[in-house]
Amino acid sequence: MLKLISLELRKYRFPRIIGYAAMADLALLLFLTLIGLTDYGAEDYAYSGYPESFMLIDTFVRATFMIFAGGLLSRMIVGEYRNQTTSVLFTYPIKRRKLIAAKLIIIFAFTFGMILFSDILLGSVLVAADRYHPFIEDSLAMEQVRALLPEYVVSSLSAAAMALIPLAFGMRKHSVTATMVSSVLLVLIVCSGFNGPLVSIKSDPAVSLLLGAAGLGISWLSMFRLETNDVN
């Protein structure tokens, strides 16, 4: 399996994709800084307290990398069908299910890793900025940070899992557009809401677990249907 994963990474020139992800992080940093600067002093200032600030960062990070995952799904799985490279890939003496599993593992691990990493990175930037130039009213206690880490891990895991949901829509007609549209819609639903986002680090774990399970279930099904399906 490791061998298959490394082949996939080579096939899609993964260093380049990591470069894109770094660019996304940079854009996020700029965007969040902009919110901090332009809204400063407003009544509903986004960075009024640490919990709100972390929530804000996490929501944007999650939205970005869930859509990023949609892009990876389009490229690595749907695109493989679209460009008909499946008619080469599936003539290899390797179980199709394994080939797809390798791709899903990469996408899942990458999305999880990037969300966790970006949350921590941007959170640290926030803490550092506040230290030099205080603008957040409350202060951060060490216990809060300790509690935050497992929350981040669990929420990133579920985000990475639910980011696989668009595969179900994309695979129906092997359409890149359907994959991307469903992944944007998913983000719109999941990352918005009247009282804070539907799914976030602080939200009801039941919802995120349910959606995460749906994502894993969908990828599981798509893997097992492959063996008997025709490749056209």
Binding site: L7, N83, F90
Partner: protein
């Protein structure tokens, strides 16, 4: 004679319409099997079934003596194929594509890649992504990829598409050499008769999803080499003379007025002389040197009047 690949009553239906119906095809070890049919006759569908990309609705496929199931994977190691349009990972270079292929196939010897690229005339493509290749280059790269793991069975779907005349000739020589020197069994499809005729040992003709003929080229040549066609004034009498006086038995009445004589010994001038001597006037006579093309074209078109 052992069979490398066989299909037994294979049918593939899409939503009730059969793309391939009840095809029983026998590919013997070491031969070049030419698969002839118009576009859309079902050639590609059958080839995709042989490589396990699509599954037959009914019937069985045997490869290397073993039944092909949706979970047959090991057998794929022994095959190489270029089916339909040769597809690659377009962002990668020719060499990267070949390296990936070797890795996926579990083929350890990377040294052959360079030699293969040279043979395909692609050694100067460097880091150029396959996206920018011409169809001919893709076609050559596709064949190189199929060959690099030294398969026992090579399946090529319309391999001459996009090749220029010298490329076609090169490919033809290559295929013959693969068969003769390396004993690779080849299944080559085409809608161009001339190509198949020049290389194939056995020809299968598919029309409307049905395999309507499967015959060795040798036999076809024997049957359809040359004939003399003549229109005598009195057909019955002429036939009598031809059979009993001239001792030629390999002749045929075509449409009530015309006789075709297939005996290789017969010559038109002798024939006329003999017929006239026996009081049979001849209205026209001509010698047909080559009816193979007509034979196949009629088979493919579905006209059964010419046998």
């Amino acid at each position: 004679m052992t069979y490398i690949a066989r299909t037994i009553g294979v049918t593939k239906a899409y939503k009730g319409t059969e793309a391939v119906s009840d095809v029983s095809m026998n590919i013997r070890q070491g031969e070049i099997y030419g698969f002839l049919g118009h576009n859309g006759a079902g050639k590609t569908t059958l080839m995709r079934m042989l490589t396990n990309l699509i599954k037959p609705t009914a019937g069985e496929i045997e490869l290397f003596g073993e039944k092909l199931t949706p979970r047959s994977y090991e057998v794929l190691k022994r095959m190489g194929s270029v089916i339909n349009y040769p597809v690659f990972y377009d962002d990668l270079s020719a060499r990267e594509n070949l390296e990936l292929h070797c890795d996926y196939m579990g083929f350890p010897d990377k040294r052959v890649i360079g030699a293969m690229m040279e043979q395909a005339g692609l050694q100067d493509t460097g880091r150029k992504p396959v996206r920018e290749f011409s169809l001919g280059m893709r076609q050559r790269l596709g064949i190189a990829r199929a060959l690099i793991t030294t398969p026992e069975l090579l399946i090529l779907d319309e391999p001459i598409n996009g090749l220029d005349p010298s490329g076609i000739k090169e490919l033809r020589d290559l295929l013959k050499r693969l068969s003769a020197e390396y004993r690779i069994t080849l299944l080559v499809s085409s809608h161009i008769l001339g190509e198949i005729e020049q290389i194939a040992d056995t020809v299968g003709v598919i029309r409307g999803g049905r395999l309507i003929e499967e015959v060795s080229m040798e036999r076809i040549r024997e049957q359809h080499n040359e004939y003399i066609e003549l229109r005598p004034s009195d057909v019955r009498k002429a036939a009598y003379v031809i059979e009993h006086r001239l001792g030629l038995s390999n002749y045929k009445l075509v449409d009530g007025h015309t006789i075709r004589i297939y005996d290789p010994g017969a010559s038109p001038s002798e024939l006329i002389k003999d017929l006239v001597r026996h009081d049979v006037a001849v209205e026209s006579v001509f010698k047909r040197a080559h009816s193979l093309e007509e034979y196949f074209i009629n088979l493919m078109k579905g006209d059964s009047s010419v046998a």
